[in-house]
Structure formats: C-alpha cells, structure tokens
Amino acid sequence: MVYNRVLDGETLTIAASGWTWHQIFVLQDYETGSLWFPGLSFPGGTDFLLCVAGPHQGRKLWARDSARVTWKGWHSFYPNSLIMHTK
C-alpha cells in the first residue's frame, strides 16, 4: 500500500514504531511520534492510515494509486520503470 505523507503542508517521515497490533505493524511519524494504523483494519475503514494515538490523533493519510504485481507484469507495461536498489 502507498500513502500520502503530507499533512497540513508538513511532510512526515513514516516508519515502523516497533509495535504490532494483531500481527500488523503499527507505524509512527518521526516528526510527532504519533502512531498510525492501516484503516483497512477498522470497520468501514478504507484506504488510509489512521492516527490512533498522539498529536495527530484522528487524522488520516490517504492511500495513493499503486499496483501490486510481478516485476514481469509491471515491466511489460512500463519498460522504462525505475526500481529500488538495496545493497
């Protein structure tokens, strides 16, 4: 899942918080330490991260378009696509 990470004009650095809830990673933002959790986990939730504790409590970071596919499937449509390289 891909999320917007700009809130009120401020760009947040999203990271794992070290906690999981029901085996799902609880995220945080380094700027305020607020805890974020995927909205999909909530009744009626859709594609967003919901701030469940901290200064941004109740705010949402909405999902953006993304595709979860194989590299082959992606590359056949977008042969010039860049790909993240990790060492």
Binding site: M1, V2, Y3, N4, R5, V6, T11, L12, T13, I14, A15, A16, S17, G18, W19, T20, W21, H22, Q23, F25, V26, L27, Q28, G33, L35, F37, P38, F42, L49, L50, V52, A53, G54, P55, Q57, G58, L61, R64, D65, S66, A67, R68, V69, T70, W71, K72, W74, H75, S76, Y78, P79, N80, S81, L82, I83, M84, H85, T86
Partner: protein
C-alpha cells in the same frame, strides 16, 4: 529675568526741591503707569503649544473612561493647569461636560451610558492665565456589556487524554477579542489553561478524572465575562493506558484502545522507535544497470506511476524495513509492506 521698570529709583536719583518735584512726580507717575501697562503684556509668558491627548480606543469598557494627555515632546508641563471637555458633539457645541481646571495629566469621566460615543479635548493654562489652544479631539464609544462564551462539542466522556472541542462567544457591541479557558480537576480550584480565539481547541490532560471547563470571553473593549455568568461543563477523562517498549519508552495508547478498540493485550514486540529504520530517498536504478531485474522475473513488486515518474519497489526489499519514504514526481509517499 525681572523686567519691571526701575521707576521708583528716579526719586532718590534726582535730588530736587519739593515744588519742582510735583510736575516731575506727575510725569514719573504717568511714565510708571505707562510702563506698567506695557509690562503686563511682556510679563505673561504665552502658554505654549496645546497638550496632546493619548489615543483613545474605539471602544472603552464599562461606564467610565479615563483620558490622559501630555505636552508635545520637548515641552515642559511647568505649572500648567488643564481643562478637559467631553461632548457627544464632535464640534463641542452642545452637551459639553468639563473637568474644571486641574493639575493632573489625566481625568476620569464617570456615569457614561452604554453604547454612547464621547469626544474629548484638553487645553492648558499657565498661572498668569494664558491658555493654550484646544488639543485635537479623540473619541471612544462605551461598551459596558461583556461577551458570553460557550463550549460546544464536548463529549461527556473522553476516550483519550488529548481531546478537542469548540469555543465560541457572542458580543453585542465591540466584538469578541479572545476566550480564556479555565479548567479544574475534580472540584479543585480552576486554573487558566490558555487564551484562544473562537474555534477548535485541543486539550491535553495530564491524568484521568472529572475535568470542569469554564470559558470566559473578553470583548474588544476589554470587558471580561463574569464567572457568575459562565457556563461550566464537565467531561470525564479516562485513566491513561501506557505501554512500555523494550527500550523503556512509554507509549500512551489510551486513544487507540478506547476510541479505536485496539485492545491493549494485542500490542506486541515494542522493539523501539528507531529499531526498524525506514528506507528514506531510496536509490533507484533504470534499464541497463547491472542490478536491473530481468524482464521475466516474477518477483512481486509495488509499482507507482505519477505522470512520467514510474517506480517499482520489490516486496522482498521492504520486508525488513517495513516502510520506504520516497518522493515520486515531487509527491512524498510512504510505501508500506
């Protein structure tokens, strides 16, 4: 400098027989009289420039108003007395009330009516009776009615130590300036939490218990709402739910548990805030790079395309780090496993 004419000296300076003295005396008398008349004009110093009234606010609180004044810079008040006038008439032709001559440089007019507008001016007078011109006038409208504040959207019970509600206020005359928010814990003496404009306020409680809130509005004129006229509202703040991670850091998850039903017992690991670092501004490679995957690889990826910026992230690369913070086509995004 004493500029009185030395006329009496003429007697002793000119020795003369008594008979001859008579016409001389007449002349001297006339001269002296004449000189004295001239002296009256010369001796009285002019009163100088007019005093300057301190600027008056558009609205003054209550039913009285104290006006004050000073002399233009470089001028000394000396022994000037002042006369202040107020009038409902900007030209001071009617309804004029005067202070009488006073030595002070301020004067309080009392018994003014709510919503009435008054014009003020002042002049000075020196001990010899010479008066300055009137100052320029200043005007102010009395506002004696304080505003009324209200507190809305406050739940009877909170689900976290940080919660929000709305402050509003109404004022008939000068308008709402700000709202003081007072709060007290479980009947303790109320203390000031802060001063806010009307609108949403976030309150950070330091512990659980019944919190009493009292909003007191202040209007532009400076009238403050009386405590007796305030609305007191109560809300119950929960006891905080704190979990501690393996590095000893406390996390307040009260809201998560109570508001979002994320039961306390299901929070696990607590490895530490900085144990699993996100990948920030990752290195991206394109076709031709030695690390660029074969086009037939069936590796699972997350792909994004924002205009001409097209990027893929291998799911396997994200498993260890959980989040990639990237900027694609100028848009900051968080890619999450």
């Amino acid at each position: 400098m004493d500029r009185r004419p030395p006329s009496p000296k003429l007697f002793s300076a000119v020795p003369a027989p008594p008979v001859m003295l008579l016409p001389l005396l007449l002349i001297v008398f006339l001269l002296a009289g004449c000189s004295d008349d001239d002296a009256v004009v010369e001796v009285i110093p002019p009163a100088g420039p007019a005093p300057v009234l301190a600027a008056e606010p558009e609205f003054s609180p209550g039913l009285s108003n104290t006006v004050s004044w000073s002399l233009p810079e470089g001028e000394k008040a000396g022994d000037l007395e002042f006369l202040v006038q107020r009038s409902g008439d900007p030209l001071f032709d009617a309804e004029v009330v005067e202070s009488g001559w006073i030595a002070e440089s301020s004067f309080e007019f009392t018994g003014l009516e709510h919503a009435s507008t008054h014009h003020f001016r002042v002049r000075g007078r020196n001990p010899q009776g010479a008066k300055t011109e009137w100052s320029s006038s200043q005007a102010s409208t009395q506002d004696a009615v304080p505003p009324v504040a209200a507190l809305t959207e406050m739940k009877a019970e909170q689900t976290s130590l940080l919660f929000t509600f709305e402050l509003s206020a109404t004022d008939q005359d000068s308008g709402v300036e700000e709202i003081e928010l007072w709060f007290g814990l479980e009947g303790a003496e109320a203390e000031l939490y802060g001063v806010f404009p009307p609108g949403q306020v976030s309150f950070q409680a330091t512990g659980g218990g019944i919190h009493e809130f009292i909003p007191l509005a202040v209007d532009v004129a400076g009238n403050r709402q009386d405590l007796a006229a305030a609305t007191v509202q109560e809300t119950i703040v929960p006891e905080p739910i704190i979990i501690t991670d393996r590095r000893g850091e406390d996390f307040d998850i009260t809201a998560a548990v109570l508001e979002y039903r994320m039961g306390e017992t299901f929070w696990e690991f607590g490895l530490g805030r900085y144990t699993i670092r996100p990948i920030i501004d990752p290195l991206m490679v394109g076709p031709g790079h030695h690390a660029y995957p074969d086009e037939n690889a069936i590796t699972p990826i997350l792909g994004v395309k924002y205009d001409d910026d097209i990027r893929a992230y291998k799911i396997g690369d994200m498993m260890n780090r959980e989040v990639v913070d990237d900027v694609v086509n100028g848009i900051p995004i968080a890619v999450c496993y």
